[in-house]
């Protein structure tokens, strides 16, 4: 598990339209639900579908003061494996963690990227199975909280409902999954998150 320590800095990498920015906001909201301090903002630029996109989330037990973009992240979350590794590995801390949407196993990814810690998850497959569309951001958050201390899957589910669908869900995740009236589209997202949480392959040395 990743201990938050003072502050944990997470950088999301995706392509325009994949929901990297939304993922960064959902995570900040989830940290807020846990009573932590958080901050989420995108790398600003002209919004173009398909272009590489960066978004940042900081989580801390103390108020967060800095507003500088994250240049040496503790974690990078890669929504799209077709991105150049030189983009998402930039500045990654020596014991930094790569959470990547990939069908490959964590060890071979770690070897190829030259990093020690990898969480591999076939988020595209999971999203297609659960939602019928390759939107992977909520699934990637499921894989992330698998290794993130202090943030529960419950909180991510609540945050996702709030940010994506403007729904305030007060009960737990178990009950949510047993509430078909909430709608198939919403449940698809949540199921994808749970499946990613369970099936993520974690390589932490």
């Amino acid at each position: 598990m990743l201990n938050i320590g003072e502050t944990i800095e997470i950088r999301f990498h995706g392509r325009g339209g994949q929901g990297a920015v939304t993922a960064s906001i959902i995570l900040a909201e989830a940290a807020g639900i846990e009573g932590l301090y958080s901050q989420a903002f995108p790398e600003f630029g002209p919004e173009r579908r398909g272009a590489p996109v960066k978004a940042y989330t900081r989580i801390s037990k103390e108020p967060i003061r800095t507003r500088a973009p994250i240049s040496s992240p503790d974690v990078v979350v890669v929504l799209d494996p077709s991105l150049q590794p030189s983009i998402y590995l930039q500045g990654l801390k020596s014991k930094g963690l790569v959470i990547i949407n990939s069908k490959r196993d964590a060890r071979s990814i770690a070897q190829e990227l030259g990093v020690e810690r990898v969480v591999a998850i076939d988020a595209t497959g999971i999203a297609l199975r659960n939602m019928g569309v390759p939107i992977v951001n909520v699934a990637m958050l499921g894989a992330l909280v698998r290794v993130l201390e202090y943030i529960s899957l419950d909180s991510v589910a609540k945050a996702a409902l709030k940010i994506l669908f403007n729904i305030k869900w007060e009960d737990n995740l178990e009950l949510l999954l047993k509430t078909p009236s909430i709608g198939e589209k919403i449940l698809g997202n949540i199921r994808a998150m749970v499946e990613a949480y369970k099936s993520a392959e974690v390589l932490m040395t």
Binding site: A28, G32, A40, F41, P42, F44, P46, A68
Partner: protein, 405 residues
């Protein structure tokens, strides 16, 4: 900003960006008429307000217009008949409003406007700096510059308290960093019950257009009276300082948050002070911690109130420091000191009889990030240059090709 644990008003913790924080404050102030023309990075404010009106959360008129010039004109009309009004803009939109800004303050209407600050064209830049805000400093609008989403919320409430005060009747701007704040989600507290906000904002009588009691507003005035009327604005702007301090006290009493015209961090025993404004104050505080760990006695100051300019507060804070470094985020082209806040600070300290070594830096233009390392290196550069720093004018930080020895 300092937060007290207990406050009179019960509050709830939410995660919002500064655009949405502005919208929630406008909702809680029960604004009657909103008119705006969306422009990035301000768009989120009016998007959220439209949503609130559509959902029935806010009972207000949203007037759709074809330009910012009309947006401000529309709320001037609404304010003239007694409505509580709001608009928001950025960059070119604010420039397009310019002549109407003077009309609003000259007519003594208590408008409130949010500005997500942004660079100006050309070349086109949608990113952050404070060129837009600094261009409107002489329009007689009370101007707050916030540094967190929490402060954006609180300052909009405070702006209505001050603008609508019968002793003032001037419009107010609440500015915050475009993108660096307008698009950054962070926690803040907002009152659970909107009634508690309305108790802080009683509707007060003022002169309005009324067919039963006709008056004229904004008529032509001959040279024998124009100056006296404008002088009343000079007086009102000076008086605004005292009313703002009263409003700060009410915010503290009701919401538990303490605001000062100039905020400070570790300033008391500092030999070197760095003054800036807006969201990068947080980054500056982190840099101060870094520099202190290296043994330098450095502190941070933040200008929260830009108009009226809090010269005496600044004097009190700077009194014991040897070096003052001002970090601006706008350029006054051709000025002797090109940083607008540096220029103003030097004038204010001279007025107060204070002459520290001053260095003026300009950074973050057109959205270039300003990091902890930038602040640290600016402090080191200022110490290296000493008295020579100000002879240069302003130091344009990180610009390729610009060298200062």
């Amino acid at each position: 900003m300092e937060t007290k644990l207990e406050s009179r008003v019960r509050q709830t913790r939410v995660i919002l960006n500064s655009n949405y924080a502005a919208a929630y404050a406008v909702r809680d102030a029960d604004v009657d008429v909103i008119s705006a023309y969306p422009i990035t990075p301000q768009t989120g404010v009016v998007e959220k307000l439209s949503e609130m009106i559509a959902e029935g959360e806010l009972d207000a008129e949203m007037i759709h217009v074809e330009s910012e010039h009309s947006a401000l004109s529309a709320i001037i009309g609404a304010s003239a008949v007694g409505a509580r009004v709001f608009t928001a803009t950025s960059s070119q939109g604010l420039e397009y409003m310019h002549e109407v800004l003077h009309i609003a303050s000259g007519m003594r209407l208590p408008l409130v406007m949010a500005i997500a600050t942004r660079a100006l064209s050309a070349p086109i830049s949608i990113w952050n700096d404070y060129s837009d805000l600094m261009n409107v400093r002489d329009t007689s609008w009370i101007t707050f510059i916030a540094s967190t989403a929490q402060e954006v919320y609180d300052s909009i409430i405070e702006a209505y308290m001050v603008s609508e005060d019968p002793r003032i009747l001037l419009p107010s701007i609440v500015a915050y960093d475009g993108f660096w704040m307008s698009h950054t989600y962070e926690p803040l507290y907002i009152p659970e019950d909107r009634k508690t906000v309305l108790e802080m904002l009683p509707r007060r009588p003022r002169y309005t257009l009324d067919p039963d009691n006709p008056i004229t507003m904004g008529s032509i005035v001959n040279p024998d009276w124009y100056y006296e009327i404008k002088y009343q604005q000079v007086e009102a702007m000076k008086e605004a300082y005292r009313v703002i301090r009263e409003a700060d006290a009410k915010i503290e009493e009701n919401l538990g948050r303490v605001y000062k015209p100039v905020e400070s961090y570790l300033a008391e025993d500092s030999e070197i002070l760095v003054l800036t404004y807006g969201g990068i104050y947080g980054t500056l505080q982190t840099a101060v911690d870094l520099l202190r760990s290296e043994g330098l006695k450095v502190g941070a100051l933040r200008l929260r109130l830009w108009r009226p300019f809090p010269a005496r507060d600044l004097k009190t804070l700077v009194e014991d420091a040897k070096t003052l470094i001002v970090v601006d985020r706008a350029i006054s082209y051709g000025a002797s000191i090109e940083g607008p806040v540096a220029l103003e600070t030097i004038a204010a300290l001279y007025r107060e009889g204070l002459y520290p070594t001053i260095a003026s830096f300009i950074a973050g233009i057109g959205g270039r990030p300003v990091s902890e390392d930038d602040f640290r290196d600016m402090v080191k550069k200022a110490l290296e240059l000493g008295e020579r720093a100000l002879k240069i004018g302003s130091i344009h930080w990180g610009v390729r090709g610009a060298e200062y020895e």
